[in-house]
Chain length 362, copies 2
DNA sequence: CTTTCAACACGAACCGTTTCACATTTCCGC
DNA sequence: GCGGAAATGTGAAACGGTTCGTGTTGAAAG
């Protein structure tokens, strides 16, 4: 008992007060200003009920100590991290970069931090990050799937109203999401190609379990049917939205004898279309003289290749902005500076450039 | 006194135990497992000194409750956020996206989260984020400046050994940084252009207060001098590394009478070179027939434009990886899984494509 | 049959805030 | 001169973990 009293009772150790490198806490400020900790807190926050004179003393203590509140502690108390997460396959895809850019723009305006997670489209990472972000009590999550699946961890986020999907819509489930009108856009670009008189076309589609890939495919099929072509008769090769897969798919689709091979390749995104263009160039096919090509996304690159790539504009940045706004509105229901309803279906626009032309007279 | 006892003493309220939506805490786990909170903690962490049987009980309680530790609390206790920040001008610039990608790759491997902050090259945002990230006790910061300046807040981070600069080196100050050998790369590409026999060249430089811009300019001047051209005699227009500024700069540089205007434009980055290329194309100049063009960065785009852009490869991703490794080594000094010294000066490589040719016989 | 000592479990302090519920002072009207 | 509201300041309990120092065992050692 005596021992206890003499050794174990830990008085505030004056030594660590001067520990250099130690950053001042609200307690230091209180001590210097000669007020209670809670008073300092009130000064820092909704300056309610504190006299001008006290406020002054506290503020000068804050300045003297160069105190900055520890957000970690604040967040623990509040139970929210003040940041949102963005899970996306890969930043180097300009489309994802654009979405990220839009998300960040809105987050920035609302004093939210953005945690960026890339998954290389691997379910493993999608799962990992959705768990980590849950554990970190992030306020919300914007998810661009590379796999087309929702992990259980993600499903729980849906329950708590803090998940927004971009360019993905789950059958049956009512998950908040922001999408482009993929089907309509695909229909439009395919209509355009077919209206040039192509009869033998090939399709380079996206990964089959991706919602966008399905939608675009549906649009293409609509257009084909409307042009009197049996959709089931056209050759389709699935890629993965990467440039290399477009190259590889083109090689497959163009492997037949010249008389039978497609005079136009409809590609489910620009990167793959460019891959295909590279292959065509390599085997000496002129675009659009020998073969027409179109893409989807309208990434900046599309206007810079030669010939310019006919594509479908879906502004990634706008999508990102809407997604972030939607997410924030879910988190803090009815914000006062409300800017009206948030678009969840973004229109797409056909962008005609030089890569599509009429087929050579057969 | 009596009043106090009967009303103010707040017993643990059983009501909020069942509050649905409330996530289980370590205390709930302890209660269910019938052990002390500290024991649960030990199980979760360095499982030291816990009997197999207890560990089992705790683990099954964890599973039953679907408990996940609150990282916010953990971090407060630890005083570190377990994440690093990346401050960069703009994600849509593929070079920055590549750096970010490299950083994220390493961070991911070390279980660190990446907070992404974009500044649009505005000092205002650079300052804002450096403060916010300090307040959040982020473990470290990787900074790509758009303005060439370090805010005071950033300087304090230098003191605490948790700031790494990318592609920036401050005169006098010894701030850890990772750079490409900009000067050498610039020298190489300019040598290449001049070796084709160009005598009248123009330069589109970067913003003058950026370190990279200065270095590249120095390299160009070396090459000019070596080729017997007075560096001060060549026209220079400063851009801002954006495509539009390249376009504008080209218009200025090519405004003279045909006999006097440059036969080659040396551009301080690819985006501006592409802008210049667009302008040339617009006024009917053939690249490289009428005018040669070169860039810097070797972004993916450079190989896709027609003709391919001769450029200098500086792998943004590698730079990002090194920067992140360097930062992590500053934070937790000598990691055991050390992979040797970290490169801070990354070599550049001349990439020759079709955009540079000999000038037409004068 | 003590003593010693691991091994294991526990309680409580602490990280740096916020915020609730009071305590104290001031001031006013009666 | 008194009661009471308003204004201002305070202490202490959270938030959800980690970790130090200590208490309690049971078995091996003496």
């Amino acid at each position: 008992m005596k021992r206890r009293l003499s050794t174990a009772v830990s008085l505030p150790d004056p030594a660590n007060r001067d520990d250099p490198g130690r950053r001042p806490t609200i307690r230091d400020v209180a001590r210097v200003a000669g007020v209670a900790v809670s008073t300092v807190s009130y000064v820092i926050n909704r300056s309610g009920q504190v006299s001008a004179e006290t406020r002054l003393r506290v503020n000068s203590a804050i300045n003297a100590l160069r105190y900055e509140p520890n957000l970690l502690a604040r967040n623990l108390k509040a139970g929210r991290a003040g940041s949102i997460g963005l899970i996306a396959p890969d930043l180097r895809n300009p489309y994802f970069a654009a979405v990220a850019s839009g998300v960040q723009e809105i987050a920035q305006a609302r004093d939210m931090l953005l945690v960026l997670c890339t998954t290389q489209s691997a379910q493993h990472w999608e799962n990992y990050y959705s768990q980590v972000l849950r554990a970190r009590r992030l306020d919300g999550l914007i998810f661009l799937s590379g796999s087309g699946m929702l992990t259980p961890s993600l499903m729980e986020l849906v329950q708590s109203n803090s998940l927004v999907l971009v360019d993905e819509r789950l059958p049956g489930l009512d998950v908040p999401s922001v999408v482009s009108t993929n089907r309509r856009g695909a229909r439009a670009v395919a209509d355009h190609v077919l209206s040039q008189g192509h009869h033998r076309v090939g399709i380079i589609s996206g990964a089959p379990n991706l919602w966008t890939a399905g939608q675009r495919m549906a649009g293409y099929r609509e257009a084909l049917a409307a042009a009197g072509i049996d959709p089931d008769s056209v050759p389709v090769v699935a890629g993965d939205y990467q440039q290399e897969s477009g190259y590889a798919a083109a090689r497959i689709l163009l492997s037949g004898p010249p008389a039978e091979r497609p005079t136009a390749l409809i590609c489910a995104n620009d990167l793959m279309a460019i891959g295909a263009m590279l292959y065509c160039r390599e085997i000496g096919l002129d675009v659009p003289g020998d073969i027409s090509l179109c893409g989807f996304d309208d990434i900046p690159l599309a206007s810079l290749v030669q010939p310019g790539l006919t594509s479908v504009d879906q502004c990634g940045e706008t999508l990102g902005r809407s997604a972030c706004r939607l997410l924030l509105s879910l988190i803090a229901p009815p914000s006062p500076d409300d800017q009206g309803p948030i678009e969840t279906d973004h229109p797409t626009k056909l962008v005609i450039r030089g890569s599509v032309a009429a087929p050579k007279a057969a």
